[in-house]
């Protein structure tokens, strides 16, 4: 119940925010906020959603999601027309973007396959190591990925007669994608596939005894998460007018985890809440504390949340509402992640 309130609130806020900003701030500042705070929050929220989806319904904390998002970004950058340097090139966005998403889904399936026989903390370590391996590969390979420099000039398609990077086009398209994916996740977990997945999270042996293939379901979950992360990755690449290995390094990888945890690992909407909080902190850290010490600040917030409210901000809200039912449910879902 608390989650539904939070959910509606967040969606309403995200839909109307640009207009509120225009009313309050001068035009160029409102545009800056829309694209660089809200837009960035939504895009990274999508990537965080892929992590939260796996955590909430699969019981896995995967640190490979940022890398998988980057796979989609590289897929687009390598194939799209106009990128510099042009590795393959020549394709319009209508073809390059699906290729990127395909690459991300495939990478998700691959990560799932490698990690399929592991759980819990081993999964965390292995996904981290895999992500870093891909990062190092991309950083050193010139022929396919242009190494340390990355690939630039991925400007995005023209939509509705406007440049994709027009703040409002970018924001509302990203928001639409986010809402679609979010709705998809909510729908998926009520389908037989989703129910089996949650069953596997709670007690894999029993579900296997019922005749379901545990490994296949897990791998498929990773594939779905890969697709979601890929959507975020494509949007992020267009936002950054290109992609470089730095986007998938250790820092960004941990940042996605921070967003998911701050928002609440037991609730998909937490991905967007956490991402919004993170982005606001990141943009305005200088005013609050010291721009150079942003990492200390966000690290402290992260630590406090893990110590005090493992279910993040959404959990705090639930508790504040005093709705014992919702609180118990969220605590249970986190506890189930810790089951051996």
């Amino acid at each position: 119940m608390a989650e539904r309130i939070v959910r509606t609130g967040v969606v309403a806020l995200l839909l109307t925010a640009p207009f509120l900003l225009l009313a309050v701030l001068p035009l160029n500042q409102a545009q800056f906020w829309t694209a660089n705070v809200l837009g960035r929050a939504v895009v990274f929220g999508i990537i965080a959603l892929s992590l939260t989806f796996l955590a909430t319904y699969g019981g896995f904390i995967s640190l490979a999601q940022m890398m998988i998002a980057g796979t989609a970004g590289y897929g687009v950058a390598v194939t799209v027309d106009g990128a510099v340097p042009s590795i393959v090139g020549g394709l319009p966005y209508a073809l390059a973007v699906p290729l990127g998403l395909l690459a991300a889904t495939a990478m998700g399936l691959l990560v799932g396959a490698i990690a399929v026989r592991t759980r819990d903390i081993y999964l965390l370590m292995i996904t981290l190591a895999l992500a870093m391996g891909v990062f190092r590969f991309v950083e050193t390979n010139i022929a396919w990925f242009n190494g340390y420099e990355g690939i630039r000039n991925v400007v995005g398609p023209r939509l509705f007669g406007q440049d994709f990077r027009n703040p409002y086009v970018f924001y509302y398209v990203s928001l639409a994608v986010a809402l679609l994916l979010y709705g998809f996740v909510l729908y998926l977990v009520r389908t037989p596939f989703g129910l089996v997945l949650q069953g596997i999270r709670d007690n894999a042996r029993r579900v296997a005894a019922l005749g379901y293939s545990v490994p296949l379901h897990r791998i498929a979950a990773f594939g779905v998460a890969g697709f979601i992360a890929g959507c975020g990755g494509v949007l992020a690449t267009i936002y950054n007018i290109g992609i470089s290995p730095g986007s998938i390094g250790l820092g960004p990888t941990v940042n996605v985890l921070i967003m998911s945890v701050i928002g609440g690992l037991g609730h998909p909407v937490g991905a967007f809440i956490g991402s919004l909080i993170f982005t606001v902190f990141d943009t305005f850290a200088a005013n609050l504390y010291d721009r150079d010490r942003f990492n200390t600040l966000i690290g402290l917030v992260f630590l406090v949340i893990v110590l005090v409210s493992p279910d993040g901000v959404t959990g705090i809200f639930g508790r504040l509402r005093g709705l014992a039912g919702a609180g118990k449910r969220s605590a249970r879902s986190l506890a189930s992640i810790n089951k051996p």
Binding site: I121, L124, L128, D292, G299, L300, I337
Partner: protein
């Protein structure tokens, strides 16, 4: 012949350093079931603190400057590790993922504070003259003495750990605690205190690795991430909780890195990860891992 021997020896000496650092990680996991994601940060902090102690003594031409730095680094790391366990991790006993998240938070804060306090300049210890310079090694010729010292230290650590675990009372308690924690408590052993001791020991090993590593290679920000990753890979390949497994993992990773650098420098970095992925595919618990 000479070149091949040199490259192999390089790989073994690098493996020695990796073993020292990863053994702490493996110990803490094997016995406490805590994945200490702040392990790399302990390396970094031990190096910087050790250097702070070392530098004024070195400038004053004191012969034991390096040893003092080494002792300071180890001591600081051990205390930091014990504090982490006592203040933060002990009340989450059993919640492995939550503990891992806490250590991630600590590592972010600590790494940033290190940058704030010590600045961004890289630094490197001067090894004492007695072990600086080169030694003659058969087939190889002149070889940096310090790298040979690394092997010596690693072997000493390995033997000491084995003796500790298999020949002392503490070791017996630790091994019992791994199998059945509650039973150990029921036998009257102060389990939390054993836990602190183990964490401190694992952190101290990391601190040792930090100072030795910072004598062989420059100490700079980014080394924390690097050594955390290496420890992860070494322990995944060799098997969690097994000291011999860690040694095997370290040798594989060290040799792969150096051979890769000599044979195909562009892709040497991913050779390590390919080995890891292969081991995971064939034997997910690691080469000598249990269950």
């Amino acid at each position: 012949m000479g070149l091949a021997a040199t490259v192999v020896l390089n790989g073994l000496t690098l493996a020695a350093l990796y073993f020292i650092v990863a053994s702490g990680f493996s110990l803490i996991f094997g016995l406490m079931r805590v994945v200490n994601m702040a392990h790399g940060t302990l390396y970094l902090v031990a190096g910087y603190v050790g250097y702070r102690v070392f530098e004024p003594l070195y400038d004053a031409d004191v012969w034991w400057a390096w040893y003092a730095g080494l002792a300071a680094g180890i001591a600081f790391a051990a205390v930091a590790g014990a504090l982490m366990q006592v203040l933060l991790l002990s009340w989450m006993q059993g919640q492995e993922l939550r503990q891992a998240l806490v250590t991630i938070g600590i590592s972010i804060i600590a790494a940033d504070q290190v940058l704030a306090i010590f600045g961004g300049t890289p630094r490197q210890f001067f090894a004492p003259d007695a072990i600086f310079g080169s030694t003659q090694v058969p087939f190889v010729g002149g070889y940096p003495t310090f790298r040979l010292v690394q092997i010596g230290v690693a072997m000493a650590v390995g033997v000491a750990l084995w003796l500790l675990l298999n020949r002392t009372r503490l070791g017996m308690m630790i091994r019992a605690g791994v199998d059945d924690r509650e039973m150990l408590g029921a036998c009257g052993v102060n389990v939390p205190r054993v836990g602190i001791a183990v964490f401190a020991l694992g952190a101290a090993l990391c601190g040792l690795g930090g100072v030795i590593g910072s004598t062989a290679q420059p100490l700079a920000l980014g080394q924390d991430g690097r050594f955390l990753l290496i420890s992860l890979v070494v322990v995944i390949v060799g098997g969690m909780g097994s000291i011999t497994g860690t040694a095997i993992g370290a040798v594989l990773v060290g040799l792969a890195e150096q051979l890769g650098q000599a044979l195909f420098p562009t892709y040497s970095v991913i050779l390590t990860f390919v080995i890891m992925a292969t081991v995971l595919a064939l034997r997910p618990q690691g080469i000598l891992g249990r269950g």
